[in-house]
Symmetry: C2
Subunit: 324 residues, 2 copies
């Protein structure tokens, strides 16, 4: 693959962000942003660790990688603006295959008016894609995990476990209800940018995106905020046909499955109506799933069948009932 | 390697940049910059492609990777502020080894008061390090390759070919003069941040850093600016003891060797004294090595032994005399 002609082939003809001064084509990109705060994050995806050509096309791979990065920006309450892509390309990859990864990213970038402003293409043995995303957020309105306060209610957007269900369908032949729906939730997840934007006016929101399962993400909020979060198992939203899967898998996927790229957050009860209206405006569901209480013994408890279990960060293997 | 404890071990206790609002520890970092323009670049380095444990310690690897990235920022006339590091770690790497890569980066980051504000640590088969660097530049003073104008003189900082000489010494046993000097130029290159900052007051400078050899970098300036650059071979600065190497290697290294991370630029003759003073202030040498003329046939010509040769972007294999 010729690096120069490849870069030319993925370079945008024009840019969408008015804050951009210089895009691809010099030693670095240049932009100006005086009215908002700037957020930046990076994530790397390795073939056969984070994705496999067996369960998705390279278009999906690109889409999913950028979705995961944008989800981090949404979890800060920010709006994505730019991305840079560094890609390690093994010899057996064709430029067409690499271009498909970029096409998958471009489809989401177009949706959010994001510009590809830089990157690097290097040779290697193992395909990996590293994406840097930059976004903007109203000054002082970045949403931190540390903002949860005792008495807050805990909410989550969308439904959980769908991505894992899609992966299950792709790797276990059989007849499934809503097959395309689940497979698309796995391959083409949509980050919750609009919702994160619409709750912008609320003074205080703790926010995290669900990349590693709600158990982990709630624990991160609780640990950062020095509180305990109590979740109601029966309130955790799932898709109606989710009940077709074995109960143990349902439980595992919705609590620890991850990669749904939904948002989990906490707000004061006063703001709950506002959050519901924001979800409405964004055309998504939002569900109250628990509340925040003073820290005691564990950061996350799950209320299930009238009993209380501590939810451990590293998964459901450690799941056992406790007296409390 | 446990990712969480590793991230904790490389996390800074405190941050140096006053524009930083949130560093490591949430979904993204947050900063605010209203008085300057922001530059951003990313570069990826793969083991046994861009570096090898046989010719350097992992401390050097880290140092050199961040130096290469900072060099891109300097080539924009900007001052580095932040970096994010995404690292793919094979199983056989210990956390101590990974930590040494970060220590190498930290040594340079400390020098420039840069903050590590994010990253990702993932498992893979092949070690690769992807670094995103952000910097600040006075508004409208970003230095583009496209700024060269007919009549400009061409300058270069420092000496060229030293990094390749160092690599040669490391891979060919023998007795060499200034061995440590060359080896350090290869392992611990110093980007030209101060110089780039001191020429800030000049209205117009075309600037590029020398990562791929001055032939390539001058060609990038010339192509972006739509001009031809003529370089004088005997003016290209080298270290005194560089003459110990075979003439063909000297020629190859100083013109196409790259990885010296010096800066090549063009300015109007009126500003040459200012450029020299800036170099003085930065404690480095700067040398006039050619001039800019209207575009004709080729982007770069080399004047050597009273004859003129076109310098091709892809190296000295294409080097042959032309009538012009």
């Amino acid at each position: 693959m010729d690096e120069f002609s490849f870069i030319d082939s993925i370079k945008q003809d024009s840019y969408r962000q008015s804050s951009l001064i210089k895009g691809v084509g010099d030693d670095a990109a240049v932009f100006r942003q005086s009215s908002e705060d700037i957020v930046v994050a990076v994530d790397t995806f390795v073939e056969n660790v984070h994705f496999s050509k067996e369960t998705m096309d390279l278009f999906h791979v690109g889409h999913r990688i950028l979705a995961a990065n944008i989800s981090d920006i949404a979890a800060m309450g920010a709006t994505p603006a730019f991305y840079l892509v560094s890609i390690v390309v093994p010899k057996h990859y064709t430029s067409m295959e690499c271009k498909n990864i970029f096409k998958g990213m471009q489809s989401l970038a177009t949706k959010y008016r994001m510009d590809l402003i830089g990157g690097d293409t290097v040779a290697g043995e193992e395909m990996s894609v590293s994406v840097t995303v930059l976004g903007y957020v109203t000054k002082t309105k970045a949403r931190y995990r540390s903002a949860a306060v005792e008495g807050d209610l805990v909410f989550v957007t969308g439904t959980l476990g769908d991505s894992q269900a899609g992966f299950h369908i792709l790797t276990n032949t059989g007849a499934y209800q809503d097959e395309t729906y689940y497979v698309n939730k796995h391959r083409l997840p949509v980050p919750r940018v609009e919702f994160a934007h619409y709750i912008n006016e609320i003074d205080r929101v703790a926010l995290n995106d669900i990349s590693d399962g709600i158990g982990n993400e709630a624990a991160e909020i609780a640990a950062s905020s020095g509180v305990t979060i109590q979740l109601n198992e029966h309130k955790i939203p799932t898709t109606e046909s989710f009940s077709q899967f074995p109960a143990d898998l349902q439980f595992k996927w919705k609590l620890f499955g991850g990669e749904d790229f939904e948002l989990v957050g906490t707000v004061s009860k006063n703001n709950w109506t506002f959050v519901q209206e924001a979800a409405n405006k964004a055309g998504i569901d939002v569900t109250e799933i628990g509340y925040v209480r003073p820290y005691r013994h564990n950061h996350v408890y799950l209320h299930k069948d009238n009993r209380l279990f501590p939810l451990k960060k590293d998964g459901y293997n450690h799941f056992k009932q406790v007296k409390e």
